[in-house]
Symmetry: D2
Subunit: 308 residues, 4 copies
């Protein structure tokens, strides 16, 4: 079976207008649609799909669901069987449930968040167009110059369970992990494609979101993004610029107006993209502060305590 | 079938020592082995496989073969059948033919170069190691800070034939193409994974190589790479730094001591990674000078005339 | 006597509106005034003076005059005496001849261009303001992020004469020079302050301008500036990004709509700022192609042939 | 009188070898001499003078003295008279007291540190040489790519006294200041040349040093410097990368092995270089946390408490 890449993340936000402004004017996404339920759809510059992010107004921040794409339509039936065989209920989601999205299957991860798999998302083209395009989006446009939605980090009471599910049932690959002295897995970074991670899982309350992350083209763009956020005046910076030991990226963390944590980063390596074959990088728990924040080699307590 | 990513390129060089020095001290690869035939094996920092480049001393520069990796061992048999069904002969290559490489199949592309598919390459780990690694290779080490072998561009008398073969037989995706006023394909950029292109094909004599390309983490690193090449004093710069319209990357071109063209670049977008689904960017021939070299909007004649 | 730094350059342009748009929307200056003669005044972000550039509509492009600032009002009289002692006529320019400018003295350089010295320019503050400012101008604003007007290069039939005048009469310092095999000076780079050069002189027809140059904060900004120019679609790029051997800067050249050559660059070293004491870097003529364009090590003929 | 730029700083360190290694292998200075007293002399790449830093082994870290250069030999006598007229004792320092240094005058600043003025420092040339040089120091050399010693920040019980002395007696210019609600000066940033500041003064115990600062060519180099320090493993990072509101620079802070605080930064604007004429930027005390650390808008208590 071939889960091929992250499709989109559907988020709850407490003020739709404020959130939309944040993701357009600070993060730099383009608005690509609104549906009958008032949900806002957004996409980054370098992705042809209809959206990578859906915003739904609600009383609380947090994650509604994350959708991954499969390579062939038939992969959906195969995945459904495999998930059910693990004893996890699967429901069908009709095409059009999300704007531009084909039929999907939905189920709950061991860590309590809803995951969907789908094959089709309408194509809207790259931000610079599909015929004789300029290689860069205009510099005048608002926001940081994020290129694509890259990954998300979920919280879970037993991270190893979710990692195992992704690896054993959906053929994800394990690219890095943090292990306790007794060998048990504390946190796991998994990928279904060639990127270093599409979905990571770390200790925290089930059903919650730690952060969603967008890519930037260059380390300079990471610093530029901080400038843009400070100028906006509305964005709550949390951490950085710093460098992760895990994945090696240059990164900053901040919050959307609802409190959902965002990351923008540059420089992840490409993991192998060959199921079952990549030995993972192993972080011993006592070395993990350096793995989390290489420059500081300490992890601020709030960094893992706060989730939505 | 799942061809998953470029494995390695095997090159002919006219002076093995000079070539090895170039790829280690200028490009920044690590030497990972030598075999009984005297061939030199090299790998970039961010790839766990045994090698991404093999150098063989010969009377002429040029490409020996390019090897792509498949996701499952069984994909080899499936690929062999599909290639043969196209009327192209396939031969088996025993494990160990290249150091650290498993069994492969080999065949000739319509444009005359040898392509191999294999499943196994020994794992040697990332340059920074697999346990509690530092996120960056040491700054003191020689050469540009290339992260990985990214793609190659082949010459062919009928580029469309090779592109069609890759797309129809090996499930590659077409991410960009240059078309003549009559709609025929002049050049094609194809991908089997998530990167913008793994193998591209442009007009030129069959059997020849236009260039091999390595990735850099940052646009600043592209300029830094020029400095390093000028310091080395031995590298023949050809072009750049400039920006491609195609793929949008910031890039430089230069030659190894044998005359094989190299590229180092930053900033390719991630194509979709879903077979059959990505509409390609289309370049009309008259706009292609801008697509080739966005800053100058002209293509120097020598750029396509010189191949090895 | 203390000539302290470049004040402003007054340029002729053939279409005032087109030129104004270029310097605001491409170069990134702020418009700071218009006078009764219709002249447009502009300043960069990091300079408090009223202007660094004056645009006057005329039938031809070229330089009207360049104005340098002196440290004390009394320096004007001292300079007047010294210039006259050299046998060069000096005329007084009343305050207000240029908007916001105090009284000046004017004379003709040996290479035929008008030079002025003045002490006063009205202060308008930095672009980000003078009270609790943000450290960066807003990212949304149009144009490259130039920080300041840095220097100009004049053409002259006998460059050594102008260099000698600046050094002997106005206490400029010589930071770099290009010398012929017979020891005669071909080109000279002179500074009155701490920057590497404020005024340079190279072979060409008397009275003409080779280029004016603006500083950028970072090498990444140089590449970003090329993107902005290409987006604008109206700017004629000439050369780069490349690196000068002389001064060591990363640089690009382009033309304003009237044909006046512009440079934006990053990374000049700081020369000593102590009159009479800095030994200059010496370029032998045969090495100068590398000094001019380090990456290419050739000087395109048009680069020195075209002046305004 | 014309104090023209910072000459060098003489520091006390507790372990000469460890300090020398730090300034060569981490900061990236070149060792330029040792004298009969065992003192080590160092210089950055882009300065021709014999040294910008002297290290003397002692029981405590801290500042021995800071030396500024004057434009003409006669300025020394003028300065001596002016300082004495202020009621401050001046003593002569013979040529050769520091290696390569001409005769100097020495006196004590109101904040208790020794300041020297001198005219002569031997010239040793730029790191890349004085004839047909390459524009960049070799990438293989150890350490961050600092270009020059830029400024220092002194501690003082009454910062305004030292600032006033520099401005009124030595013709320094005030480029930025922090003022209390009652209008009194809390901290002052003064310059004698074109840079934003050569010497700043902030609240703290008399006679002590807050930090010395070196320039970098690019914002990317600031992040690169952090990598280099982490690789060295011996350097104690303190803060950043972040951005100062004051001066607008991108910056990091760290300590030498003796505990003297270092800064490397990129991007200071050029102040005017015209005595008495530049209105300073004014920071109100309540806005100063943003002025100190723009990204975080808080000042860690330890940042001002720790001095040497």
């Amino acid at each position: 079976m071939a889960v091929s890449r992250i499709g989109y993340i559907s988020l709850y936000v407490t003020n739709l207008d404020a959130a939309r402004r944040h993701y357009v004017e600070v993060v730099g996404l383009r608005e690509t649609g609104r549906d009958a339920h008032g949900r806002v759809y957004l996409q980054a510059a370098d992705n042809q799909d209809h959206h990578c992010l859906i915003l739904t107004e609600a009383l609380h921040a947090g994650i509604d669901h994350v959708a991954f794409k499969v390579g062939e339509v038939e992969d959906l039936a195969e995945a459904q069987a495999a998930v059910r065989a693990r004893g996890i209920a699967v429901r069908g989601v009709p095409a059009g449930d999300a704007l531009g999205a084909g039929a999907a299957i939905a189920f709950t991860l061991p860590s309590g968040q809803e995951m969907r798999l789908l094959h089709h998302l309408d194509k809207i083209g790259y931000a610079t167009g599909m015929r004789n395009p300029n290689p860069v989006p205009p510099h005048g446009k608002p926001g940081a110059r994020v290129t694509h939605l890259d990954h998300l980090l979920l919280a879970g009471e037993r991270p190893a369970d979710t990692a195992q599910f992704l690896i054993e049932v959906l053929d994800f690959n394990l690219s890095e992990q943090v292990v306790a002295p007794d060998g048990s897995v504390i946190a796991a970074f998994t990928t279904c494609g060639h990127t270093m991670h599409d979905l990571a899982i770390a200790p925290g309350p089930n059903g919650h979101l730690h952060h969603i992350a967008f890519g930037l083209e260059s380390r300079s763009d990471v610093i530029g993004a901080v400038d843009i956020m400070k100028e906006a005046g509305t964005t709550l910076m949390e951490y950085g610029p710093t460098r992760h030991g895990v994945s090696g990226v240059t990164t900053i963390y901040f919050f959307d107006p609802a409190g959902n944590r965002n990351e923008v980063y540059n420089g992840a390596y490409q993991a192998g993209g060959v199921p079952g074959l990549i030995p993972p990088i192993v972080w011993q728990a006592q070395e993990f502060p350096r793995g989390a924040f290489y420059y500081e080699s300490v992890v601020p307590e709030s960094f893992f305590a706060e989730v939505t």
